[in-house]
């Protein structure tokens, strides 16, 4: 049971290296909350500050309405799982999982019982006498999780826990983590650079970039309504296509004119009350409609490459010196350099102002 609040949290390393800039987050009790961002954006620093391993330069970290800024890690009652797993190489699995209990001087019988129970939850009861080096990556991962959950802490902090696993195991453990969260019903704060992990696991996601929270919302909202260009670029794979454009108003109609002089009709005056002129026009690959036959009003380009994935095929298109990716049917087939025609799903278009990259909201026809 724990609600975690970060209030105007700032972290400065050294004299003037601002790594975390006025971060505000409210993480609800029992929530699976993810902080996602590219490497070096400060996400691990935030986690370390919540754990108490780093001090905050200013601002407050609040657990259940109590400020914990001055509490050492031991007294915050959090558990942390590290990317490296941080298992003690000289201790076996049992001793590793029992470590936090032994520090707290739990009676031996209870230690034994709790470790056994935890191990069976994670399916590692047969490995208790092994040393970490005798375990596979996935098993080590489970031991690290076991050491965290055995204590029944108020909050779990997970720092890129799946990043050291191979791709297949990572996807598998993702589901395990989600199920584990359901079972133990405890607040989890998860840090990753992998947007897919963030999207699949979380109740809510905060996108962190250069020490600032760019957006904090549910995965669906973040995907469908990215607050700015940074978020739009980061969330979704393959990423969104962007083109520079200019908003042109003629009579009652508003369109975006691209650098190659092609333009895309957006809607009538009433729907589009935008003051900005210079914009970034964003569209996800799945919102590009393509055809090999010429169609009235569609753009024309040239196929650069075709990437069949099995469940879908991505088509790279060259268009007026720019490149865009479109998602096509799995059966789609075409030779490079052949002409291709495409348009965009109007309701799925994102506009960002060119100066600050902020989302421009509009209702299209």
């Amino acid at each position: 049971m724990c609600e975690v609040i970060l209030k105007n949290v700032t972290k400065i390393f050294g004299k003037d290296n601002l790594v975390i800039d006025d971060v505000n987050l409210e993480i609800k009790d029992k929530e699976f909350f993810t902080i996602v961002g590219p490497s070096g954006c400060g996400k691990s620093t935030i986690l370390n500050m919540i754990a108490g391993l780093e001090e905050v330069s200013s601002g407050a970290i609040i657990f259940d309405l109590k400020t914990v800024n001055d509490l050492p890690p031991a007294r915050r009652d959090v558990a942390m799982v590290f990317q490296s797993y941080a298992l003690y190489p000289h201790k076996n699995v049992f001793e590793n999982i029992a470590f936090p209990l032994k520090i707290r001087k739990f009676p031996k019988a209870e230690v034994k019982e709790r470790v056994k129970k935890t191990a069976s939850v994670l399916g590692i009861q047969h490995l208790l006498s092994r040393k970490p080096k005798e375990l596979s990556g996935g098993q080590r991962q489970r031991v690290a999780l076991g050491r965290a959950i055995v204590r029944k802490p108020r909050v779990f902090l997970l720092d890129e826990p799946l990043s050291n696993l191979d791709a297949k195991l990572r996807v598998y453990m993702r589901a395990e983590l989600k199920k584990l969260h359901k079972e133990i019903q405890t607040t989890m704060i998860y840090v990753t650079h992998d947007q897919a992990e963030a999207m699949t696991l979380s109740d809510r996601v905060a996108i962190l970039f250069e020490g600032r929270i760019q957006q904090c919302d549910s995965p669906q909202m973040v995907y469908n309504f990215p607050a700015n260009k940074v978020v739009a670029e980061f969330i979704g794979s393959p990423s969104m296509n962007f083109f520079e454009g200019e908003l042109i108003r003629e009579d009652d109609k508003t369109s975006v004119r691209f650098t190659g002089q092609d333009s895309f009709f957006m809607g009538g005056e009433k729907e589009l009350e935008l003051k900005e002129k210079e914009v970034f026009f964003g569209v996800r690959p799945e919102d590009v409609i393509i055809s090999l036959e010429k169609k009235q009003g569609w753009f024309s380009g040239k196929i650069f490459a075709v990437e069949p994935l099995g469940n879908a095929t991505y088509v790279d298109i060259e268009w007026n010196m720019e490149r865009l990716k479109a998602e096509a049917e799995p059966e789609f087939h075409a030779e490079p350099d052949s002409p291709i025609y495409f348009t965009f799903k109007k309701e799925k278009i994102h506009l960002f102002d060119k100066r600050e990259g902020k989302r421009l909201n509009f209702t299209s026809l």
Partner: protein, 294 residues
């Protein structure tokens, strides 16, 4: 063309140079010493008789030998004990993120960089009865009222030599242990902190067990080095007063080169060699110097 590189023989051919060098500088001298130890040789009186293992029987009845052996063991034990504790303390300190750490590291290494003979000469002055700074400082601090004869007294001579040795070789210990500390992953400490482990708990349950392989290597290195101690004692006391600082190497040296007693001296050298061999193999067997805990 005949095959110069036969694949079966090639590996032997490739290690041949090393074998030749080791034979010339290690095996030959050892075997030669063992051979010489079977003779009674005295250059002054032109004696050169094969006497079998008589030298070794003589050695067993030689009080000077046992005195030297005990002195050596005392020297090894005491110097190693303090080097280990001091070395570990300093290594732990410089492993912390402190300002000016680089400078401290460089300064700490200075004693190690000075040749032993030079530093021993320096210590000889420090310990000097009339002009030594040690007596001066102790008197200045009112810890002693009269000058003490550090190198001339049976009680202090050996301990003074040990002090000089500790000063010189602790940096080596620091360096080894510091290297050992640096390979312990930071995440282990972070994790232990979050799990509630205090400083002591982290030291006993993480640092010490993970430093064990390094500690064992360091102890072995230093023990073997100290067992063969020569220069610091030779310069400081020359074995005196009354043989209280006579160590094995010094006694062997005296037999060999002062008394030209090559047979008996060689027997002493062989015994020293065997001691070192036995000690290191026992040590490695007992503690298993594998890096298993890594």
């Amino acid at each position: 063309m005949t095959k110069l590189f036969d694949h079966a023989k090639a590996p032997y051919l490739l290690i041949l140079p090393s074998i030749l060098v080791i034979t010339a500088v290690a095996f030959y001298p050892i075997l030669k010493a063992a051979y010489l130890s079977l003779f009674e040789i005295n250059l002054k009186f032109n004696v050169n008789n094969f006497i079998g293992i008589a030298n070794y029987f003589q050695l067993l009845q030689d009080n000077s030998f046992f005195n030297a052996l005990l002195n050596t063991l005392y020297f090894v034990g005491v110097s190693l004990f303090f080097e280990l504790i001091l070395g570990l303390l300093i290594a732990l300190v410089i492993n912390q993120p402190l300002k000016g750490k680089g400078l401290v590291k460089a300064v700490i290494l200075i004693p190690w960089a000075i040749p032993t003979v030079v530093s021993a000469k320096m210590w000889k002055w420090i310990f000097n009865y009339d002009y030594g700074i040690l007596n001066y400082l102790l008197k200045f601090l009112h810890l002693i009222s009269d000058n003490w004869n550090w190198l001339g007294s049976k009680t202090f001579a050996m301990n003074s030599a040990i002090l000089a040795e500790i000063w010189k070789t602790t940096p080596f210990m620091v360096l080894l242990l510091f290297a050992g500390l640096q390979v312990i992953p930071e995440d282990l400490y972070k994790s232990a902190k979050v799990d509630g482990a205090g400083v002591w708990y982290r030291f006993w349950h993480i640092t010490l067990p993970l430093l064990k392989p390094t500690l064992l290597v360091a102890v072995l290195f230093r023990a073997l080095d100290a067992f063969r101690v020569f220069d610091v004692i030779f310069v400081l006391t020359g074995g005196g007063p009354a043989d209280t600082t006579e160590v094995l190497s010094l006694y062997t040296y005296k037999q060999l080169f002062s008394l030209s007693n090559f047979g008996y001296g060689s027997a002493l050298a062989v015994v020293t060699f065997v001691c070192v061999m036995v000690f290191s193999s026992l040590f490695i067997k007992l503690f298993g110097l594998s890096l298993e805990t890594r």
